[in-house]
Amino acid sequence: MPHSSIDWSRRDALQVVLASGVSFLLPAIEGRAVEKRGSERPTSLITLWMGGGASQMDTWDPHPESKNSEKIQAIKTTAPGLQIAHLLPQMAEQMQHLSVIRSLTSKEGDHERGSYFVQTAYRPDPTVRHPSLSSILNHELPDPRIEIPNCVALCDGPEFAAPRGGYLGDQYDAFRVFDPGQSLRNMRQGVDSSRQARRMSNLDIVSKAFRQGREARVDKSLHDQNINRAISMMKSEQLKAFELENEARETLNRYGDTQFGRGCLIARRLVETGVRSIQVTLNGFDTHANNYEGHVTQTRILDPAFASLVKDLVDRDLLASTIILCIGEFGRTPRINPLGGRDHWPHGFSCVIGGGGLAASRVIGSTTADQQTDDKPIPPTSPIEIPNLYATILSRMGVEFGKELITPIGRPLKVCTGTPIEQLLG
């Protein structure tokens, strides 16, 4: 390994830097890849899912001059020329590492359908269930060194917003952790190893009796495979990535004492362990009433968690190998409804994307802060389709995005129908 000495010195240097407050708590993990830093490291994806659909005007695309803006002001960020809503002051400090797309478009204005589309870059189709981007990565970029699930969804949220394997199979569904930092109970073996061994030998006998005449069907159920995966996971040192017990109080506070904050911290730890794709969900953006107050509440959770995540990845030299995407199923109407809320708006909404060697500090597309007199949308400039966004991520992560996969009924489907966004790859 020609680079190993360099990697070690980097690691050592990092440890010195971090010794004052936070140290490297993860145990040494087998495989050099995990020790690597910078762009040599295999790339991971963290998706921050804004469940319910965050309002672009109250987050990444403020229009303080507009009558529809409510009390939102725009603040400068560390990215030249980029202003975001004043509700995200900590993120303003981190924006030089990231880019903003303000012109995402979708045709799906329902939560479930919209989530399906943004998760998979395909519109819902009753004849096939498409896999989510995270599940495609897990399928296309397997890593035998990872003993814990390679596609993880953190925090509560509806099932339709969690990554699913679709036609790739349920084994590519995200591993769901509903309450990050609290859910290790089920991942730990409840008995000593001699009893565990006895249980497994018992299970072998009982399964054999049942398999008689049902071999192919039991195999298809993945029951035994799941037990084996669970066992190797329970034994794995990598499980520590899900633990927060040894994190400094200061670190926990920095991310925020919220489920989402803990989720983002665990997402960082999973990236450090080498897990391929992680989604952290923050629900509650569906502000049909009292939109402003709703977004004040939500951004108080989002801002510290997201900013700490970016800062930590930068400090640990992990941002070059981690793509962060902050996105939801759609945005919200520019106009305020009679209840002081904003309704669903797939006609021009925002996402934040960066890391993993993608261009930083770019602002793509723009929207107006209004609708036409009859409430019709005014199309954004430089509209970006979700498939193009995903083609960008897949191409950066080395997945041949245009290739065809064969669904169980023999129908070939492209991994992704889009083409990469040049401004982000540049």
Partner: protein
């Protein structure tokens, strides 16, 4: 209407009321000793035989033979899981085994259909199709009242078409006229979502998906956007006041044109056979008549397909979702859907009696076949599966897993006579467990494998640990204390968890662990055997 100032108070009162009523109505009374229940009526058996004949004739084109008959205990397990969401208790198994009447399965099925556990469990399963699993709009949607109402309809054998008409057309308050919760489930942001109601009505009662016709003409079927809008308009006059759900005859239903984005007024319309609507009542009354009209074959097919799915764990057309049936006149599917039509006609002529339909389906050989077969070749296996010549292997629903675990932890039947504490535990534990397990929601009949999350929950979860604990009142404890020999002890453990006795290989494996008298069997050994059985594929997969 302004709820907000009194919201906290209502919340507390409603919460207490809901919890008390749920704890009080959860599992129920003992399976009545089947003495007063008779065997299946002969005409039920005739229809069941026709179904089997039909299925076998399709299989005859291949050289395959159907799977053998499963043993009666396996079939009893299927029945209790499908109809009551739990497995037979040891005391029920003992009674069943001592019942030597040749048609004991039919007699026991009839007893189950009279058991409140069936009414409650099946009501919950049906409610998923009718109102989903979401909490819905606060106050005006009362899911608990709705499922109680469904449960009463099942208890009183109310014809299914009448139930559906009540759901579609009833007026009144959500607590008193609980059927109206079908439409109040469609309230979002304090307004009725007529599109949602139209889509759900067609999916739940006619077994077809027209939701995408909301935005464009259906790409595969005949549904047009205008037809969807006409159906949605049937719900367009809905409103709610302090006296509950009403229709406001003057209210206009407008849709936004997706192309021009202009508002258009739409009048209530059905896509075909408007003469089925009748002439009287509100648009919802006429829609209800149309949906349940005896000539509307979609209605009976959809009902049969769903009930078949709830009984087998898979809808009759295994390759399609339960609410995605082909059009009845589509010539390419006539062969495949013949059984649906056969059962549908019987359902219709017997006044849409769900219990009769269940009796017919559970009397078929298809329901009583083994889930094992000598054939292993995937293509042959899938041929057998598609003709129902082998019983499907389906993952149990989370409620069924937890119901089975709880029942296996008690020698006696857990029912309405059980201690309130036991029932409260069941209620709270069930919710907690289902959340961790993942609720498949309305898509519960879609076939999915287990996930690592679920595997870990059963392997290491608190609940599985507690259920296998040897306590003075738990099954592990009772069985340890009262089994006269080690062989009987192992029999009892197996019967309690898997509704069968151990094989010779299993006996040979466990005998050394259990030791021999006078020493008591080791507590941890016993707990580990329970753990093993809970984590076996046989426990969590319906077979």
């Amino acid at each position: 209407m302004r709820w907000k100032p009194i919201l906290p108070a209502i919340l507390v009162v409603a919460g207490v009321a809901v919890l008390t009523s749920m704890a009080a109505t959860s599992p129920v009374r003992d399976l009545t000793p089947p003495g007063r229940h008779g065997p299946a009526e002969s005409d039920v058996l005739v229809v069941a035989a026709e179904v089997d004949q039909r299925l076998l004739s399709s299989l005859k084109t291949t050289s395959l033979s159907p799977a053998e008959r499963a043993d009666d205990l396996t079939i009893l397990r299927r029945l209790t899981l499908a109809l009551m969401g739990t497995i037979p208790s040891l005391e029920e198994i003992r009674r069943f085994e001592s019942d030597d009447r040749p048609d004991r399965l039919a007699i026991w099925t009839n007893a189950i259909l009279d058991d409140p556990r069936f009414h409650n469990y099946f009501a919950e399963r049906l409610a998923r199709a009718f109102v989903g699993v979401e909490g819905g709009q606060f106050i005006i949607f009362r899911r608990d009242r709705f499922t109680n109402w469904l449960s009463e309809q099942l208890r009183d054998s109310v014809p299914y078409d009448r139930m559906v008409r009540s759901m579609l057309a009833e007026d009144g308050v959500w607590t008193d006229r609980a059927a109206v919760n079908y439409v109040t489930a469609g309230v979002a942001n304090e307004e009725f979502d007529a599109n949602k109601l139209a889509g759900r009505t067609v999916r739940a009662f006619l077994g077809q998906r027209i939701d995408c016709a909301q935005c464009h003409n259906h790409p595969f079927a005949h549904w047009k956007q205008s037809e969807f809008e006409g159906l949605a308009a049937c719900f367009g006059q809905l409103d709610y006041t302090m006296v509950g759900v009403v229709d406001r005859p003057g209210k206009k239903f407008e849709v936004e044109d997706r192309e021009t984005l202009e508002k258009r007024q739409v009048t209530p319309q059905v896509p075909f056979h408007p003469e089925w609507c009748g002439t009287r009542g509100s648009p919802r009354d006429r829609l209800a008549e149309w949906v349940t009209h005896p000539e509307n074959r979609r209605f009976e097919r959809a009902s049969v397909n769903r009930i078949w799915g709830l009984i087998f764990g898979q809808p009759f057309l295994t390759e399609r979702s339960v609410d995605d049936l082909p059009d009845p006149d589509d010539p390419t599917f006539q062969e495949q859907t013949a059984v649906l039509d056969l059962l549908g006609a019987d359902f219709r002529t017997h006044r849409y009696q769900l219990k009769r339909l269940i009796r017919v389906i559970t009397s078929t050989e298809a329901f009583r076949r083994s889930s094992g077969h000598a054939v292993h070749e995937p293509a042959q296996l899938s041929e057998l599966e598609s003709q129902w010549a082998i019983f499907p292997l389906c993952r149990l629903r989370p409620e069924q897993v937890i119901g089975a675990m709880l029942q296996s932890n008690s020698v006696k039947t857990i029912d309405q006579n059980s201690h309130l504490f036991t029932r409260a535990i069941r209620f709270f534990r069930e919710n907690d467990y289902v959340k961790q397990y993942g609720d498949p929601g309305e898509a519960e009949l879609d076939q999915r494998t287990a996930t690592i999350t679920q595997t870990l929950l059963n392997m290491n979860g608190e609940f599985a640990r507690e259920m296998s604990e040897v306590g003075p009142f738990s099954t592990p404890g009772t069985i340890r204390q009262f089994s006269p020999s080690r062989a009987v002890l192992l029999d009892n453990v197996y019967l309690t968890c898997l509704t069968r006795r151990p094989t010779e290989a299993e006996r040979a494996h466990f005998a050394p662990q259990l030791g021999s008298p006078p020493k008591q069997p080791d507590q941890q050994v016993l707990e580990d055997i329970f753990w093993t059985l809970y984590n076996s594929p046989e426990f969590t997969w319906n077979h």
